[in-house]
Subunit: 224 residues, 2 copies
Amino acid sequence: MERLLKSIKIAINEKIYVKDPESSTLGKRIVEESILMINEMGFESFTFKKLGAEIGSNESSIYRYFENKHKLLVYLTSWYWGWLEYQLVFATNSIADPSDRLEKAIEIVTRTTAKDSAFSHINEVLLNKIVINENSKSFLTKEVDSENKEGYFVLYKRMVSRIGQMIKDVRPDYPFAVSLASTILEGSLHQHFLKDHFGTLTDCRKNEDATSYFLHLVTTTLNA
Amino acid sequence: MERLLKSIKIAINEKIYVKDPESSTLGKRIVEESILMINEMGFESFTFKKLGAEIGSNESSIYRYFENKHKLLVYLTSWYWGWLEYQLVFATNSIADPSDRLEKAIEIVTRTTAKDSAFSHINEVLLNKIVINENSKSFLTKEVDSENKEGYFVLYKRMVSRIGQMIKDVRPDYPFAVSLASTILEGSLHQHFLKDHFGTLTDCRKNEDATSYFLHLVTTTLNA
DNA sequence: CAAGTAATGATAGTAATACTATTATATTTG
DNA sequence: CAAATATAATAGTATTACTATCATTACTTG
């Protein structure tokens, strides 16, 4: 699995970047270090100038890869959803029973990333944390409709669709399959955030609790 | 009800503002116009300078009410949650049956605000839209823990707690009452956002659909 | 009603952000 | 080795997010 993950490349919409960061050493360093820095200082304080200083490169060079830091965030979150989709498909592909398949899917999307694959320049553990803290900011903007039209969010949308389809496979007559799917994905991020910062607003104390919660929620809802 | 709402004042944590905007005409104009502007141009593009120009007042005068625009956002969202809590308590107070009470509560927190009370300087319809689009940004910051400690989010937390308690009143042995409560509140905002921008990621086409969705979700979960 | 105080406005200034443009220097490749 | 390409260095601009100072207006109170 790890070897396999090393060799795959997550295909990101070309409109998100000016020059593919995967195509050069500098590009990879930009992505690599930006993950560390955004995780460290938060997206608001992060700037291309600081990133340049950190990787011993020039601010203007970074602009040749990404138009601005918002697009870099869209790139990082897209990469994450593409990566997670890969995990999802890989793990559920062979499961024939719809209920078992959905259960596995929920497990995969609600757990936190514990281990860095350590092969690529992308630290998945930290990226997972970034997604928990910053994902909403990628679409809660005035430009969301035009960016959506340009295909900036296809990978995220594909994740929701896949889970929605799995729900339909279990219960074709359930009328809120897609809403439930989006609730699982977004809600899971939210529960993890609450666990870290607003302990009184969640029953999830450990990472696995989020899985139990959503597993229970979905199972009872679909078995009604 | 409308008359009543006019006379009540939502008590906001004093640490959120420098000077209480309710205490002067200028303060009220700041709040009033900021709601229109944030709604119009989005929180990122909104600045105190632009606000000053709009209300024919000086940038520096606005800083005498709010330290920065982030705190203004915290103020606005806090006001909204306080207002919604009032609606919630008012509407559910007299309902003795726990299931009926929870049902009413879900209806109130999942519906969108349709009508401005037209009495105060605060346009609740637009504020509701701002909360859908910008609420997450009030806490998805690096300062969340210190601000939480200062009590910036008490009103939001109280809303979640109240609904959590109502869930417990229906099913005391359900182990995820608080998580379910936070899922309803945050998930509802998210479904409304999806309805407006990512139609394929939700089954909610009309505003009422969100109510149906969460009502069904909660009912089946608690009746299992 | 005069005098004092508080609120607001006007102006100026600063450091940082978010870029763009230009030119110089490496590095790669044919 | 020359040409093309990538990166670095430098400079510059408009805007943001403030802070500080001082002038003006409004409001209160003795």
